[in-house]
Subunit: 370 residues, 2 copies
């Protein structure tokens, strides 16, 4: 982190390095980043109809004031918009506006917007740069790094997309205060995941500043987003297309996705992943892979992030999802297990195959608990 | 070329090198190439309903005999199928079949199939490998190398897509005999373009074996496809994302695309590009960029490839397209001009800006001629 308290992290991607700027006020750097990516001076600012009026329009105005020609596009907020249809509409709107290959996309919003806007950019005229402006913890911590873009289809979430690393990421931690507290909690789960798999000291720090993070304190938020981006970048840089060690980022996600799907997505992604981490920690302890007590430490740390009034999910539904997923994807689901807090157990290519009975036991345990 | 008369050309792409196999019978190598790309042993063979019964089904059978699990998918033949809708349907069919990230796509057909199948692969689960099996001269010569994939949209052709280099290309020159002679002529235009921009000796060779090529003589075809692939690979390797010198491959295409669009795509791509090359040679000679007489040499060489009964196109329609394209893409169209046969004039970043009047003159000249 630089002395002014704003983080600046370099991420090395195959197409060249890019910077993630983290800190209060970095939104003002969007026009410079966009101008560098759009030789033709034209940009498409994409936002949803909830974040747009708060931050998207402001970004568009900043770009216009900087001398850029802005095409401002919005779509209806929510995961239900992360579709091929929205992607087609946004693409056609950009084509109608005559944006050429020397233009770029600026995506302003949460994970839906960064994923959808990123996929529009990835395929527009076979690819134009995208400047990502994440406005939620989840998007800042998770979607900023790695270049994953895509949309949901009937068969599942994120099944169509592309790896398209951004030209730059501007994560303005001052905007987090405009986010509902519950969404902040959802996003922070991924930060705890980074601590759990990679950095015990960071995990401890997160538990000590959870209240400040939930209150969107910009100093705490800037430190945490910066550290998470750094940790994720180190993993992704060495395995850009997710063939090997990058899979450790899926800790909590094999079961988390199943729980999320079993709730018909009524349960937030963060809550589902939190439960997934607890379940996978329990599995790890039961199989002797994970040190005893890790599940308890995780549970205590994640407690403040879990919404007590959240949707109930049946263990049998989550199990059924895992089993249909297994059938559909032509292989047993595989699990990332911790060795201890801060360290993943290497296993067979970073993942483990687990008996159905044990998975059922873990699901019953964490879902009854919730 | 190797001693057995089959070409094997290595292409260096950013994601790693791949091989283009050229020669009669290389179709039989598809299963080996597919198995190398699909660790899970499952492949989607994509073909259209015209090429499918001739070659697609055979490729599927070869793959099955090799022990691969094949999902055989077809779409209706023709450029009208190169759409986001076809892409969505093929993607969903692959998802329904449960193909995972350890599977691959095998695209068997002409340029529509290699472009569409390539784009399906580029975006399926954020990208799976594609083995390209081009069955037309155009697809072998032009679509095999460079990794361009995509679909057409209302606003124009190939405006949505991705750069997704293949894992391997199998160009079986024995299948060219199943192609209508007229389609062979269309595809060979691109070979002459390669000679015109890069290799005078190759251009001369092409003029001397045009009859054999049109008759799908496999020896001549193997030599020419191999040489064109080699020439294109050298250009593309040094400019994968089309920022610089790769633009020389657009010789004949600025005007060619306008003529093709003005004919409502009744005129074949090859014929349109042939006329585009003649027009751009004339412009080059008029501006003193191109050596005198080049247009005449080109015209004599391309004559056997032009269909005398082809669609008539009005110069004014082609001009209107160029002008609307100019307006839409936010810049004047730029032209690749020859210095002489085998050499492009460097210009300003390999392209030239040309007065509208001169373009109009060129269009009138070549379209009245046709």
């Amino acid at each position: 982190m630089r002395p002014d308290g704003r983080g600046l992290i370099e991420v090395r991607a195959r197409g060249g390095p890019y910077f993630v700027h983290v800190g209060p006020g970095v939104l003002e750097r969007v026009p410079t980043a966009a101008a560098e990516s759009a030789r033709g001076g034209r940009v498409a600012v994409i936002s949803d109809d909830r974040v747009g009026p708060i931050h998207g329009e402001r970004v568009a105005e900043l770009c216009t004031a900087h001398g850029l020609e802005v095409t401002y596009l919005t779509f209806r907020a929510g995961e239900a918009s992360k579709t091929r249809k929205s992607w087609s509409i946004l693409t056609d709107q950009m084509l109608d506006a005559g944006l050429g290959r020397d233009s770029c996309v600026v995506a302003v919003g949460g994970g839906v917007t960064t994923d959808l806007g990123g996929f529009v950019a990835a395929t527009y005229l076979r690819g134009v740069p995208v400047v990502q402006v994440p406005t939620s913890y989840l998007a800042m911590i998770d979607a900023s790094v790695g270049g994953k873009t895509g949309v949901d289809v009937r068969a599942g979430k994120n099944l169509v997309g592309a790896f398209h690393p951004p030209a730059a990421v501007l994560a303005d931690t001052a905007v987090l205060s405009t986010l509902p507290r519950e969404e902040r909690a959802q996003g922070l789960v991924e930060a705890f995941k980074h601590g759990a798999i990679l950095d015990e000291a960071y995990f401890a720090e997160l538990t000590s500043v959870t209240d400040e993070l939930l209150a969107a304190d910009t100093t705490a938020a800037t430190a945490v987003v910066s550290r998470s981006v750094q940790l994720k970048a180190e993993v992704v840089e060495n395995d850009e297309f997710e063939g090997g060690r990058r899979q450790i980022l899926n800790f909590g996600h094999t079961i988390g996705h199943a729980i999320e799907a079993a709730s018909d997505y009524a349960l937030g992604h963060g809550s589902a992943v939190a439960l997934g981490m607890l379940a996978e920690a329990w599995i790890g302890e039961q199989t002797g892979v994970t040190s005893p007590g890790v599940g308890g430490v995780l549970a205590a740390a994640l407690e403040p992030l879990l919404d007590p009034g959240e949707a109930t999910v049946e263990a049998s539904d989550a199990l059924a999802y895992l089993s249909s997923d297994k059938k559909a994807r032509g292989g047993r689901p595989r699990f990332v297990l911790l060795d201890r807090i801060g360290q993943v157990a290497e296993g067979d290519g970073w993942t483990h195959s687990i008996d159905d009975e044990l998975v059922a036991g873990a699901l019953t345990r964490v879902l009854d608990r919730s």
